[in-house]
């Protein structure tokens, strides 16, 4: 009897721990994928400032930012959209249900971003105008993925 009660208590404890772990894991995944987006955003900000003439063109800075963007866009997001990390299930999440159900599609869209970022990298040494043109393609790639997989709350 005592053993049974202890077992039950232990199982209940494990169950609670399991749920907590699940939420932590989902939150961790969300934070990881958002961090990748922040790396995109920070470097895009630098390049856009140059393209718009708000910041002085420094080819070294531009090339470093473009290279960072290209590198970040090659980070594999496959395991960063676990169940329970979607909008509605997790506070702060903006991942639409499609992102969880169709990770291959997310990956495909990210590949398009990676290609656009590679073009931007090539343009970064050529000056603000070339950067501006390449940024348009990058923006298109951001939008294409967000349209399908992101949900604002």
């Amino acid at each position: 009897m005592k053993t049974a009660a202890l077992t039950l208590a232990l199982l209940a404890g494990l169950g609670t721990a399991g749920t907590a772990f699940g939420q932590d894991a989902a939150k961790g995944a969300m934070e990881a994928r958002k961090s990748v987006m922040h790396i995109y955003a920070y470097n895009l900000g630098i390049l856009s400032g140059i393209a718009k003439g708000e910041a002085e063109y420094d080819s070294e800075v531009a090339m470093a930012a473009a290279s960072n963007l290209a590198t970040a866009s090659s980070i594999d997001l496959t395991y960063m959209f676990p169940a329970g990390s979607e909008a509605g299930a997790l506070e702060g999440s903006e991942a639409g249900p499609a992102a969880l159900n169709d990770i291959a599609g997310v990956k495909e869209d990210q590949m398009a971003l990676h290609e656009a970022a590679a073009e931007l990298e090539a343009a970064a040494g050529e000056g603000p105008e070339a950067i501006g043109a390449a940024l348009k393609t990058v923006g298109g790639a951001c939008g294409a993925c967000h349209k399908a997989y992101r949900q604002k709350n």
Binding site: Y42, L44, G96, C142, G143, H146, Q151, K152, N153
Partner: protein, 297 residues
């Protein structure tokens, strides 16, 4: 007491007139055909109306991109509390599309929500916004629509149950919510240009303004943000208390999709940015000026 009496009187009157009143009140209306009689459409400017009005975002085939977005075959579905609506074929195909229509037919559709056969359209079609468009813009759009590729894809029926499938009920809805009056008043020319783009063609309020139980826009909460139909998230508020970006930042967002901190548009808004990116920078700045002129609570 006066109010009570008035209510009683109105109730008696309604009862007396009964179904007849409903019939008259819900009768499909028509634009002033004389206003369109002598208009010559300019297809070049019609493309601007088309982009500003966002026609392709709803009427292109689902998933279409690039050039394919100009084939207005319809088929995109819109879930709502009242049922699921399917965008019809509005390509120039004479059988499945609107190729056999006249300019006045298009005007009645866009500005009165009435089909050439005299039936009410559901307000998923934003005629409460398009009613503010100028007759010349409708004529220009009509000219432009003729230049687009035809599609023989048949339009699909809406999936709407009782009582929302009673077409005359829409007439009653229109009596409440279809008005040619703009919401925002201004004397500033740029704000007025923005108002035309936002309230008339862009129909921004369709997503960004909350609705009441009948699906009418809550004009007292104009552009303050709303839950999206079908439960897919929220359209943010655009009034200055919600949106503190500079005019240039708003214009940039409408051009590239990038927010000031380089986040990028998501969901349906990416379609909208695809359209606003085709407008001129002064147009985008006018939209920004209009948003900045909106009252804050």
């Amino acid at each position: 007491m006066y109010t009570l009496l008035r209510l009683v009187f109105v109730a008696l009157l309604v009862a007396a007139l009964g179904a007849g009143a409903f019939w008259v009140l819900t009768r499909p209306g028509s634009v002033d055909t004389a206003a369109f009689a002598s208009l010559q459409g300019d297809a070049g400017h019609g493309k601007w109306v088309f982009d500003a009005g966002g026609c392709a975002s709803c009427h292109a085939a689902p998933g279409a991109s690039g050039e394919a977005k100009l084939t207005l075959a319809g088929g995109k579905s819109f879930a709502s509390d009242f049922g699921t609506f399917l965008a019809p074929n509005i390509s120039p195909d004479p059988k499945q599309g609107i190729g056999a229509w006249s300019l006045v037919d298009l005007a009645n559709a866009m500005q009165r929500g009435v089909s050439p056969e005299g039936r009410h359209y559901y307000p998923a079609f934003p005629y409460t916004a398009y009613i503010h468009a100028t007759p010349q813009d409708i004529a220009d759009l009509w000219a432009y629509l003729q230049t687009l590729p035809p599609s023989d894809t048949p339009s699909q029926p809406h999936q709407v149950g009782f009582p929302f499938n009673i077409s005359r009920g829409i007439g009653l809805w229109k009596a409440l919510y279809l008005t040619p009056d703009f919401v925002q008043t201004s004397t500033d020319e740029e704000v007025l240009r923005g108002r035309y783009l936002v309230e008339a063609l862009g129909h921004c309020a369709e997503c960004h303004t909350p609705r009441n139980a009948l699906g009418g826009l809550e004009k007292a909460q104009w552009l303050t943000g709303a839950q999206l139909a079908g439960g897919a998230g929220r359209a943010p508020g655009l009034t200055p208390d919600h949106l503190d970006w500079s005019a240039e930042e708003i214009a940039e967002y409408l051009s590239s999709g990038f927010t000031p901190d380089f986040d990028s548009a998501g969901g349906e808004m990416t379609d909208v940015v695809e359209n606003t990116a085709k407008l001129s920078q002064p147009d985008r700045l006018a939209i920004a000026a209009y948003l900045k002129s909106l009252p804050t609570p």
